[in-house]
C-alpha cells in the first residue's frame, strides 16, 4: 500500500473534525447535481418514450382532412411526388363518451398503433386505448356495437389495446380512439349483412375516405401547393403538418418545457453551490493562515499547499455530486413523470440508470470547485510566510473607509458588528442574498403556478361562462326546446364551435364560437357586429382591442372588429353573435346549460346524455374533477419546487449561521464574560441573518413573477391558457416560510451560544 502523505492525512482530519461545516458543501453539491441530472433524465426519458412511439408507428409528416370524399384532392396528390395513404375517419358516441374511429388500409405503413400486447400485428384487427376498456368495463376479446355513418350497425371484437401517436393525451379529457384495418371492418359488416358482396362494401367504403396521410420531404410547400390548386367548392377541413396538430402541439410543448427546465432551476443551485464553496473555502483559508505559514516555512511549494486545500473541496463536492447523480435520475423523473402519466398515454420502457451527460454535469461542478478554490486561495497562499504566520488578524479591515462612516458609529454596537461582518465577508453576504432570493422566487413561482391555474379556471367557470352542464351534439341541430323541457333546467345557450383560421399580424388555427343573439349563460357582453377574442389567441395573432381581424368560415373571408379581449382559460378563439351571420342558418354544435339548483346538475346531465343526437353531457362538478385530476399532477411538481426552495434556504442559512458561529465563538465567550445576556448575544448574530434574509426574500418576490412566466409559458398547452396571477397570500406565505426557516436556524444557534464555554474558548489565541 502506498503510504499516505501527511497532507492527505490532514485532508481527512480536517473533514472529520469540521464535518458540520462541510455538510452544506456536500448538500448543495448534491442538490445542484440532483436537480440537473434529474431534470435532464426526465427530459431524456420523455423524449425517449415519444421517439419510441413515433418511430415504431411510422408517424406521417402531414394530415389532410376533408368534410366528405373529395376527388380533386386525390388527383392533386397523385401528381405530387410524395407517398400518401387514404383512410376513413368518423366520430361516434359509446356510452356517452365520444370515440373517433379510424379505418386504415390493410397494407398501411403510416400512423400504426403502438400495440401494448407485443404479439399483436398492429396492421391487423381492432385496437382501442386502455381507458376505453376500463371505462366501459370491457376486456380484450369482447364484442361491442358500433353505429357506422353509412347507417349500418355492426359488432366489433376487440383485438388489443394500443397507444396511438395521434392521441397521446389521456382520453378522460379527449375522445377515445378506435383503430382498425379495412378488412376487419369489411368482415364485420359482412358478418351482419352477409347479402352485401365484399366488392360492393369496398367501393362503398372508398367513397367515405376523408383523411390522407402524407409522407415526404419539403412537406409544407407540398401542402401549400395542394391548397393553391383546390377549387372553391373544395371539401377541405384542414391540411396540417403533423407537428401543428393540436394534440401534437401539446406534447411537443411539454417536451420543450422539459428541456428548458434543465436550464432554469439548476442554474440557481449551481450559482449558490459556487457561493457556498467560495465562502467555505475563504473561511477555511482564514482559519488556516498560520498553518499555511508553517507549511511554507517547512518548504512546501505553493502548488502543494493549493492542491491540499483544493482537494478538501474536491472530495466534498465529489461526494455530494455522486449522491446527486444517484438521487436525481431516481427521484425527479418519477415526480415529474406523474404529470406526463396523467396527461398522456406513453409506452413503458426501461431507462438507462446512467448517462454520460450526468457524469459531465458532475465534472463541470468539480471544475467549478477547483477554479473557485484556486481563485480564493491564491492571494492568501502567495503571501510571504511571515505575514501568514501573523495569523488571521492580518487579513482583516481596511482602515480608512470604515472609520470615516460616522453614521455607523451612532448605531448600537451589535448592529455595527453585524454590518461590518456583512461588508467584510462579501461572498458570504452574496451567498445568503442569492440563496434566499432563489428560495423566495421559487416559492412565489410554486404558489403562483397553482394560483394562475385556479384563477383562470374560476374566472371562466364562475364569471364568464358559469354553466352547470355542458353538452355537445353529434349532428348540427337545435335541441334547445327539448332540453328546456327537462326538469331543473333554467337556461340554455346553444352555440356553434368551428375550427377556423384567424389572422391579424399572424395567422393561426383556432375556434370560432357562434353565440346566440340573446345569451343567458354566457356572461360577457357582446354586440351584433363585432367580436370578442380570448387573450391567448389575441396575443398569438398580435391584435389589440379595436383592431380588425380576419377569419375564414364557410368558404368566405370575414373581417370583424375586436371589441374586447377576454381572459378565457379553456375556451380559445373568437366569439361572435349569430346575428353577424344572419344569412346562414344557426347550426349549434353544443350548449351551455344552467340549472335552477346545483342538486339537479347530475340528473340533468344524465338525462341529456340519453337524448339522440347528443354526443356528451358533462356537469360542472365532473369537469372540475377532471381539471383537479390534471392539476393534481401539477401540484406534485409545485410541491417539489417548494421543497427544493426551502432546502436551498436551509443550506445557505445554515452555512452562514455556522460560519458565523464558528468564527465568533471567542467573541461570544467574551460577550458572555462582559455580562451580556443570551438574548443580547443571540440578537447580535441574528441581526445579520435576519437582515440578509429580508433583503433576499424581498428581492426574490420581484423575481417570482418573471420566473413563473418563464416556467409556465414553456408549459403552454392547448388545453388551458394561463391568466398569470399571484394571490397576495402567496407572497405572504413565501415571506413567512423564508423568514420561518431563517428564524428556526437562528433559534438553534442562539441556543447553541449557551453551550459556549467561556473559560475554554478564551484560554488561548487560537
Amino acid at each position: 500500500m502506498v503510504k499516505k502523505s501527511v497532507l492527505q492525512i490532514k485532508v481527512g482530519r480536517e473533514i472529520k473534525s469540521n464535518w458540520k461545516q462541510y455538510l452544506s458543501v456536500v448538500f448543495i453539491a448534491c442538490l445542484a447535481v440532483t436537480l440537473f441530472t434529474g431534470i435532464l433524465a426526465n427530459y431524456r426519458n420523455f423524449e425517449h418514450q415519444l421517439a419510441e412511439i413515433y418511430q415504431s408507428s411510422h408517424m406521417c409528416d402531414a394530415i389532410i382532412m376533408t368534410q366528405t370524399y373529395d376527388e380533386q384532392i386525390e388527383n392533386i396528390l397523385q401528381k405530387e411526388s410524395i407517398t400518401y395513404e387514404k383512410r376513413i375517419y368518423f366520430p361516434f358516441s359509446y356510452e356517452n363518451h365520444p370515440v373517433y374511429v379510424i379505418v386504415h388500409p390493410d397494407a398501411s405503413n403510416m400512423n400504426l398503433p403502438y400495440s401494448v400486447e407485443k404479439q399483436n400485428n398492429p396492421r391487423q384487427g381492432v385496437f382501442v386505448d386502455e381507458s376505453f376498456l376500463t371505462r366501459n368495463q370491457l376486456k380484450i376479446g369482447d364484442v361491442f356495437e358500433v353505429a357506422l355513418p353509412m347507417g349500418l350497425t355492426i359488432h366489433l371484437q376487440i383485438t388489443g389495446t394500443m397507444l396511438h401517436p395521434e392521441s397521446l393525451e389521456h382520453t378522460s379529457y379527449t375522445p377515445s380512439l378506435l383503430y382498425m384495418n379495412q378488412s376487419s371492418l369489411v368482415d364485420a359488416i359482412r358478418a351482419q349483412y352477409s347479402f352485401i358482396s365484399q366488392e360492393r362494401i369496398e367501393t362503398y367504403l372508398s367513397s367515405y375516405v376523408n383523411q390522407y396521410l402524407l409522407k415526404g420531404s419539403n412537406i409544407s410547400s407540398v401542402l401549400n401547393n395542394i391548397k393553391d390548386q383546390l377549387s372553391d367548392d373544395n371539401q377541405l377541413v384542414y391540411a396540417l403538418e403533423t407537428k401543428d396538430l393540436p394534440s401534437n402541439q401539446a406534447i411537443e410543448s411539454d417536451v420543450t418545457q422539459a428541456k428548458q427546465l434543465i436550464y432554469i432551476f439548476p442554474v440557481i443551485f449551481y450559482l449558490v453551490a459556487i457561493l457556498i464553496i467560495l465562502t467555505s473555502i475563504s473561511q477555511l483559508i482564514q482559519r488556516e493562515q498560520k498553518n499555511i505559514g508553517i507549511l511554507k516555512a517547512l518548504g512546501y511549494s505553493q502548488y502543494q499547499i493549493l492542491s491540499h486545500y483544493t482537494s478538501i473541496f474536491l472530495v466534498l463536492g465529489g461526494m455530494g455530486s455522486l449522491l446527486g447523480m444517484i438521487f436525481g435520475p431516481l427521484i425527479i423523473p418519477y415526480v415529474m413523470g406523474m404529470k406526463y402519466q396523467m396527461l398522456y398515454q406513453l409506452p413503458q420502457i426501461e431507462y438507462p440508470f446512467f448517462r454520460i451527460e450526468y457524469l459531465i454535469s458532475v465534472v463541470v461542478l468539480l471544475v467549478i470547485i477547483v477554479i473557485t478554490s484556486v481563485l480564493t486561495c491564491h492571494s492568501s497562499i502567495t503571501k510571504v510566510p511571515a505575514i501568514s504566520l501573523r495569523g488571521e488578524n492580518a487579513v482583516h479591515f481596511k482602515q480608512g473607509l470604515l472609520s470615516k462612516m460616522t453614521w455607523i458609529k451612532r448605531m448600537p454596537l451589535n448592529m455595527v458588528m453585524a454590518f461590518r461582518n456583512m461588508r467584510r465577508k462579501w461572498s458570504r453576504t452574496w451567498m445568503v442574498i442569492i440563496g434566499v432570493l432563489g428560495c423566495s422566487s421559487l416559492l412565489v413561482c410554486g404558489f403562483g403556478i397553482e394560483d394562475t391555474i385556479y384563477y383562470g379556471l374560476d374566472l371562466e367557470l364562475e364569471t364568464y361562462i358559469p354553466y352547470d352542464v355542458t353538452v355537445s351534439y353529434v349532428d348540427n341541430a337545435s335541441y334547445q326546446s327539448q332540453i328546456l323541457s327537462i326538469e331543473g333546467v333554467q337556461f340554455v345557450d346553444e352555440y356553434a364551435k368551428h375550427s377556423v383560421n384567424i389572422e391579424k399580424d399572424h395567422i393561426i388555427h383556432s375556434n370560432l364560437y357562434i353565440l346566440p343573439e340573446e345569451s343567458s349563460v354566457f356572461q360577457v357582453a357582446y354586440d351584433d357586429s363585432s367580436c370578442l377574442i380570448s387573450s391567448k389567441v389575441a396575443e398569438e395573432i398580435g391584435c389589440k382591442e379595436e383592431d380588425i381581424i380576419r377569419f375564414w368560415y364557410n368558404n368566405q373571408v370575414y373581417e370583424v372588429v375586436v371589441t374586447k379581449i377576454v381572459d378565457f382559460c379553456i375556451s380559445q378563439g373568437i366569439f361572435i353573435s349569430h346575428h353577424y351571420f344572419r344569412n346562414l342558418p344557426f347550426l349549434p354544435t353544443g350548449a351551455w346549460i344552467q340549472t335552477t339548483d346545483a342538486s339537479y346538475d347530475e340528473v340533468v346531465s344524465n338525462q341529456i346524455a340519453q337524448m339522440d343526437g347528443v354526443l356528451s353531457a358533462v356537469s360542472i362538478a365532473t369537469t372540475r374533477e377532471k381539471v383537479n385530476h390534471t392539476i393534481g399532477s401539477i401540484q406534485v411538481m409545485t410541491l417539489t419546487i417548494k421543497i427544493f426552495a426551502i432546502l436551498l434556504a436551509v443550506v445557505v442559512l445554515y452555512n452562514l449561521a455556522l460560519l458565523n458561529f464558528k468564527e465568533r465563538t471567542k467573541d461570544i465567550a467574551t460577550l458572555k464574560v462582559l455580562g451580556f445576556s443570551r438574548m443580547e448575544i443571540g440578537s447580535s448574530f441574528m441581526i445579520e441573518i435576519i437582515f440578509l434574509t429580508c433583503i433576499g426574500a424581498l428581492i426574490g418576490l420581484f423575481f417570482g413573477q418573471p420566473l413563473l412566466i418563464a416556467v409556465m409559458s414553456i408549459n403552454e398547452n392547448p388545453l388551458l391558457s394561463y391568466i398569470y396571477h399571484i394571490q397576495p397570500q402567496s407572497y405572504i406565505w413565501t415571506i413567512c416560510l423564508t423568514c420561518g426557516v431563517s428564524f428556526i436556524i437562528n433559534l438553534i444557534f442562539a441556543i447553541l451560544t449557551h453551550r459556549v464555554q467561556m473559560v475554554e474558548s478564551l484560554k488561548s489565541v487560537e
Binding site: 482583516h396 479591515f397 482602515q399 458588528m417 467573541d667 465567550a669 462582559l674 473559560v759
Partner: protein, 233 residues
C-alpha cells in the same frame, strides 16, 4: 464583613480517571481599596482562581461571597449580570473583538451601564489616545493588552481582575499601567487583583498571595508597599 470572602474553594477539572485538581481548599478574604498580587508558577491555578472570582466558572466546592452575597449560588442569568456590573476582566490573551475598533471594544463593555468612565478618556489614560480608531489587527500585542485593560477599567468595576496585565509590556509602559491600577485601588471603592509571574510587582501590592500546585501557601499583608518608581522590572 470582608468585601470578598473565599472559603475552601476547590476546583477539579475532568471527570473520573484523569482528574486535575487545579485549586485545593483555597480560603482568603479581600477588602476594597486593596491591590492584591497573586504569584505562582505556571500551572499553579492562578487563572482558574481568577475565573472563579470573575464568575466565569463554577467552583467544584466551597463558597465565594462578595459583600455577603453568595456568588456560587447565582444562576446563569444573575451571574451574567454580576459580571456585567461588578467585574472587570483583563485577559491573559487580550480577547478583543477583531471587528470592533479599539474605542468600540471599550464601549462594548459599558453598553447599558451607568456611572462609567469616558471610554476615550480611558484609552488616553492607557496611552492609546491616538490609536482609538484602529482595529485590533493593526495594534501591537502590548497595545492590544492595553485596550483590554481599558475595556476592563472603563466600567469602574468593584472587582478588577487582571491576568498578566503587563506580560506584553516594556518596563516603561508596564510601570505606567501598574500606576494606573494602583490608583484605581486607591479610590477606595474598588479592589484590584493582579496575577503575575513577575515577583517585583508584588512589592507594590498591599497583599501578596502565593500559590503552588493549586494550594495557597502564603497570604501576606504588605504594610509598606514600595513606590512604583523604586521597583526593578
Amino acid at each position: 464583613m470582608p468585601f470578598i470572602e473565599l472559603k475552601e474553594i476547590t476546583k477539579v477539572y475532568g471527570q473520573k480517571e484523569i482528574q486535575i485538581v487545579a485549586l485545593q481548599q483555597v480560603s482568603f478574604a479581600l477588602e476594597k481599596n486593596e491591590l492584591v498580587v497573586i504569584l505562582g508558577a505556571s500551572g499553579a491555578g492562578k487563572s482558574t482562581l481568577l475565573n472563579i472570582l470573575g464568575g466565569m466558572d463554577y467552583a467544584t466546592s466551597g463558597s465565594y461571597k462578595m459583600n455577603g452575597k453568595d456568588i456560587t449560588q447565582l444562576n446563569e442569568k444573575k451571574l451574567a449580570q454580576f459580571r456585567r456590573r461588578q467585574i472587570g476582566f483583563v485577559f491573559q490573551f487580550y480577547n478583543l473583538m477583531p471587528n470592533l475598533t479599539a474605542l468600540e471594544n471599550v464601549r462594548l463593555s459599558i453598553e447599558h451601564l451607568k456611572d462609567v468612565e469616558d471610554p476615550k478618556h480611558t484609552l488616553e489614560m492607557v496611552g492609546l489616545g491616538h490609536r482609538m480608531h484602529n482595529f485590533p489587527s493593526h495594534l501591537s500585542g502590548g497595545e492590544q493588552q492595553r485596550v483590554s485593560i481599558a475595556r476592563a477599567i472603563v466600567k469602574k468595576p468593584d472587582l478588577l481582575l487582571c491576568d498578566e496585565p503587563t506580560g506584553a509590556l516594556d518596563s516603561q509602559t508596564g510601570k505606567h499601567i501598574l500606576r494606573l491600577l494602583k490608583s484605581i485601588s486607591e479610590t477606595g471603592k474598588q479592589c484590584v487583583v493582579i496575577v503575575t509571574h513577575n515577583a517585583s510587582i508584588a512589592e507594590v501590592a498591599n497583599r501578596v498571595i502565593r500559590f503552588s500546585d493549586g494550594k495557597l501557601v502564603s497570604n501576606q499583608i504588605n504594610l509598606h508597599p514600595k513606590d512604583i518608581e523604586e521597583i526593578e522590572w
